[in-house]
Structure formats: C-alpha cells, structure tokens
C-alpha cells in the first residue's frame, strides 16, 4: 500500500506538472493572439500517411538520443550533488577529437567505431576530470570551473577546427573536419524498420539509438544496483555520513566527474557517426545545457531521463509544424521552459508532502528521498 502510494505520488507530481505547464502555455499562446487548440493539434499531428508518421517518429528519436545521453551525463553529477555545467564543453571537445581520430586511421568498422567511442568518452572524461581534481585538491567549486572550462573547450575546439584539424580548404564559408571514412559510419535503422513492416521514414533513424539504450541500461544498473551507485548517492545526500561509513568522498567526486564527462563525450556521436560524419562550425551546439533540463525532468532516473528526452524531442519536432500553422516556433521554447519549472516545483511539493505524511504516521523518514540535483535545482532556478 505504502509503496503503491509512493509510486503514485511520484508519478502524479510530474503528471500534474505537465498539465499545469500545458495550461500556462495555453495562456501564453492566447496572449500572443493565437489559438492554443491549433497549437495542440500541430503538436500531435504527425501527418496522414504512415511514411510521414514514421518520419515524425524518426525526427523525435534522432533528437531524443543526444538529449538522453546529455541528461544521463548531467544526472551522474546531480546524484552526488555535483553540478556539471561543463557537459557542453566536454562533448564539443570530445566530438572534434573523435572526428579527428576517426579520420586519421582506417580500421575494420566495429573496431573503428569502438575507437571513436572510446576517444570521445576519454576526452570528455579528462575534461570533466579537471574540474573534479580542482575541486578535491583546491576546493574550486565545480560550478565555476566547469563554466570556465566550457569557454576554454569551445575556444580550443574552434582553434583545432580552423587549424590542425581543418578538412575544408581556406576560403570556404563553413569549416569542418574531414569526413569519416565509410568504416567510421554507423548505418541507420531504416532497414530494420522496413523489415519490421514499418514504413521507412525520409530521414535515416540514427543507428546510435541502440548504443544509447545500452548505455542507459548500464547506467541504470550502475547507479541502482552497485556499490558505486550507492556510494554516489550516499555522498550526494550526506557527505559527512558517507565519509563516516567509509566512503572516500574525494575519490567519489573525481570518479563522478570522470563518469559524467565520459557520458558527455557520447553526446555528439549520434550526429557524427550517423549523419554529418564531420565536426564543423554548423555542428549542433547547446545540447549540454539542454541536458541539464532533461536531467531535471527525469529526476536523475535513467528511465525518467529517457522520457524527458522524448518529450523534448516531441516538442522540438512541433517547432516546424507550428510555424506552418502561423504560430511562432518560440512557443516550443516557452512550453519546454514551463514544463521544466513546473516539474521541479511539483517534485519539491511532492517531496514535502511525502515527508509530512511520513512524520504524521510516525514512521521513519521516507527512504525515497529525492536526488541531490533537485535540491540544487531549486537553488539554480
């Protein structure tokens, strides 16, 4: 009973938050003189034939995959009370290094892809690790150091791109690294969809969907079923108690940052190995910051993050359809922002209700305490 109730409360809070966000967004759309129902229709209108519906699904998934990885990366830090704002710089630097290594060698496809993935994860981990080491040795707040490292990473990536890694000739307007060889490209999943009897979308569904799911499962196991995950959470909730019970808090900070950075390194890969095959001036930026919102939406839970990423992907797809209906696409940004705010507030309210109920029944404090990121999130917001 208690468990059912707790799970219900946990699900009810985001559900209410979504409805509240929908209502607020509806008022915003009304205020700019548009019809919220038209907006709603465009949100859910995937087209009238199966090909365009599958295309909408592919667009949503292709957007959700990097967001999911970004959310995972941020959530690892959150779980231990670390705010890794540097995911942005970590994935940009990781992607350009991976793109360069991927063009420098030609190996059999599985080996080449593995190499690209390992390089990306290693670069992301090293870049995040700097902030971790600064924190444990010099007491530098990771919030400050990761923000600063973002500037350095973006500048460094820009230098590498326009200098040693440049693959486009001087004078061309866009600058990019050389394209990955065939063996560095991950085929899409359209063939698989066709063999399942589904209509093939116009764009290729990223093959990186499968590694992303594997990574999600591994992270879920790691944080929920291992000693490391327990230590992570314990250090986040109460560092003093964790230290007293034998957790090396300093080592945990570095480990958490390394893991967070390694996951961040993956963010650019779906695009890199599945679509653009190079890193360039037009490479999608800002995913690291969106990852913070996605992690908050998902309450640092891998399944929740998957849901948050899909929700963002779903809303993002509508940005185009809305414009065709004459509604500015910025509406989507407003909806996304409102949802994140509403979810954070709802989670906090739900937590307080849970505590109060637990106190009233005289039971111990609820075991399902929120993860560290949410407490921090209220400060950040």
């Amino acid at each position: 009973m208690n468990v059912v109730r707790r799970v219900g409360l946990a699900l009810l809070a985001p559900a209410i938050a979504l409805v509240v966000a929908a209502i607020i967004s509806a008022f915003v759309i009304l205020a700019i003189g548009e019809d919220p129902l038209v907006a709603l229709r465009e949100l859910v209108n995937f087209g009238d034939n199966s090909a365009s519906q599958m295309q909408a699904v592919a667009v949503i998934l292709n957007r959700a995959i990097p967001l999911f990885l970004a959310g995972l990366a941020v959530s690892i830090g959150f779980r231990m009370g670390l705010f890794n704002i540097g995911v942005e710089g970590q994935y940009r630097l990781a992607t350009i290094m991976a793109a360069w290594v991927g063009t420098a060698v030609v190996l059999p496809r599985p080996v080449q892809l593995l190499l690209i993935i390992v390089v990306a994860m290693a670069v992301g981990a090293i870049w995040a690790g700097i902030a971790g080491i600064l924190k444990v040795t010099r007491g530098v707040s990771e919030v400050i150091s990761t923000i600063m490292l973002n500037f350095i990473a973006i500048g460094l990536a820009s230098y590498l791109l326009t200098g040693p890694f440049r693959g486009t000739p001087e004078g061309s307007l866009t600058v990019a690294t050389e394209d990955l060889p065939e063996s560095g490209r991950l085929p899409g999943l359209n063939g698989v969809m066709a063999s399942l009897g589904l209509a093939e979308p116009r764009s290729e569904l990223y093959g990186f969907l499968i590694p992303a799911i594997v990574v999600g499962v591994l992270v879920a196991i790691l944080v929920k079923r291992t000693r490391f995950g327990f230590d992570l959470k314990a250090s986040g909730l109460n560092p003093t108690a964790a230290t007293a019970s034998g957790v090396n808090a300093r080592a945990m900070v570095v480990k958490a940052m390394l893991l967070s950075g390694a996951l961040a390194g993956l963010i650019g890969l779906p695009d890199l190995v599945g679509d653009t095959y190079h890193y360039g001036t037009e490479f999608t930026s800002g995913l690291g910051f969106l990852g913070i919102a996605v992690a908050l939406l998902g309450r640092n839970n891998p399944l929740g993050i998957a849901f948050g990423a899909l929700l963002f992907g779903f809303l993002d797809r509508a940005a185009l359809s809305l414009q065709f209906a004459g509604i500015p696409s910025q509406v989507v940004t407003i909806i996304q922002g409102t949802i994140v705010l509403a979810v954070v507030i709802a989670n906090e309210v739900a937590r307080r209700i849970a505590i109060r109920q637990a106190e009233r029944t005289g039971a111990n404090l609820p075991t399902a305490r929120p993860a560290a990121g949410e407490q921090q999130a209220t400060v950040v917001q």
Partner: protein, 360 residues
Amino acid sequence: MRRTRGLSLAAALLVGSLTLAACAEDSSNTDPDEPGGGAAPTSEVSDVRVGLAFDVGGEGDKSFNDSAVAGLELAIEEFGITEQRVSPNDDGSNRAELLSQLAEQGFNPVIAVGFAYDEVIATVAADFPDTTFAQVDGSNAVFDGTSKGPNHTGLLFAEEQGSFLAGVAAALKSQTGTIGFVGGVEIGLIQKFEAGYVAGATAVNPDIVVDVQYISPAGDFSGFGDPARGKILAQGMYDGGADIVYHAAGGSGLGVFQAASESGTLAIGVDSDQYETIGDPALQEVIMTSMLKRVDVAVSEFISAFIDGTVEGGTDIIYDLSVDGVGLSTSGGQIDDIQADIDGFKQQIIDGEITVPTTP
C-alpha cells in the same frame, strides 16, 4: 477523505485531457490541411508558393535576414505569391528537416537564407528534384568539386567590393588615421568583409591603422547576436584612437552604434541601410553609411525569374558592384562630400583596375 480528493482531482484531469483531445480531433476534422499561414495576395493572384527559410535567430535582425524579408514582400506585392517563412530551432539542428518539409508541402521555390544551409541543402535538393532551391550566401559549387545540384542556385554577393568602398569612406573621413572593424564570427564570410575594408582603407591612406577584432571564434555563433560584447570591442577601439568603426556582426552591431554614440564618433552599418532600420535618432546620427548587401534584390529577382521560368539552376548569380548588388547607402548625407571619390574607386573595381582581395 484525502484519497477521495486525490481521486477526484485525477478524474477531473483525465476528463479535461479527454476534452482537449476531442477538441483537437474536431478542429482537425473541420479544416483539413489548410495551407501555410501566408499573407493574402494583394494584387494579381499567383499560385506560386514561396518557402523562405531563415537561419537561427533570423527574422527581425534589422539587417541581413530582414533584407530577405523585404525582397519577399516586394515579390508578394508584385506577383501576389503565397509565402511561408520558417526558422530553425535555436541550435539549427533541424535545418534539413525544415527545407524538406517546405518542399514536401509543395512550396516552390524554396529559398534558404544563409551559408549555414551549406551542410544540408545539397542532400535536400537531391531528394526533391522537382523543387527549385536558392541559397543566399551559398555557392552552387562545393569545395570538393561537386555541385549542390541542377535545381540549386547560389545567390552570392561581392561583400569585399562593398566593404572596399566602406574602407575608402572610412579612410577619407577619419581624422585620427585609425579606424576599426568589428566582425561577428571569425569565419570565411566575415573575413571577406574585413579583407575588402582593409584594402579600401589602405588604397586611400597606406599608413592607416586598422584595428580588427572578432566577437567570437569560428564554431561559436554567439558573435552575431551579442550587442554587449560588440559594444565592448568597439569601445576599446574608440578609446584606442579609432574614430570610425565598421561592423559586420549582425545583431551585435547595435552595440557598436551605442559605443560610437557614447564616445561621439562614427560607425558604418552593414547589409541593410541601418540608418533607416535602426529606429533610434541618437544612433542614427553616428551611422555614417552602411555597406548595402542587396539580399532583397536577389530574393525578389529570383522569385521573378522563377515565375518567368528563366531560372537556370546549377549555377551562381553574383551580385557585385557592377549590378549594384553591393554598395554604400547615402541616407543621412554624411558621405555626400566624398561621393565622387567613392564613385571613382567603384568604377575602377568594375573596370577590373582594382582587384579586391577576399581573404585578409
């Protein structure tokens, strides 16, 4: 009691969402597939539907993108076409999807504004061979020797030639012998502006000092939309003795004008006639001239050619000084006294006596 309230709340929500869903169902049944919300034709009615795709943060920049809008509006007035304008999301990740949807929904021609479409437009053009594409600032030729397709036309501008004249004007007007250049992002396109400007200034005064700064490095496009940093850079140049600063920094140019206004110096605008578009009398005073890039002419001429069926495709149309595709604005009358000199240089460029460099 508590539980009942929770239940009824849940029920209310459920009902609410069902009603909303039903409404959505209704409205999609009643007006199926209404065409894109374009402006109503004003004069003669044409069945041409033009899709215009901006770049990130495009519409409303009072400069480059709005110039494309002006061209589109001219075409609407003239031909009564239907139009659909779309912008990509903030990180530009859906540029390909955006062009594809325009083509899929039957918009033809589809005009992409900005070189940022370079990465995707060739693929989309190949996917929709029956749609005519044009790209402002994007050449039909790709650096690896291939083309973006027979149904793609590049609308290019000789920014370096217009910037050369801006450099001439700045050098002629400068009292201190020091002038400045603020670029938005350090990429090839903006370096064309810099190269022309420096060449023009040196042609007038070989000893002139040109202070060149960029707001952000390649790969970080914030430099086109950051007036605060534009202002800091320009302020530094004015403090360092420059009395005229030319900006090629999109929305960041506002900061350059503010810095000029505060230090009682002059600035040169870009792309549109910013004297007319800035909308603030205090800032108007400091805009000595603007380097015009007639995106409006290119867009309206392309639509007109499409309607006449004379679009060649698979090639570039170059707007340079000889066709007044670039040039200097004269609003405000601040360069009237040196107009003869400017025209002299202009003629030399047109005649090929001066070749303006495109890279610094």
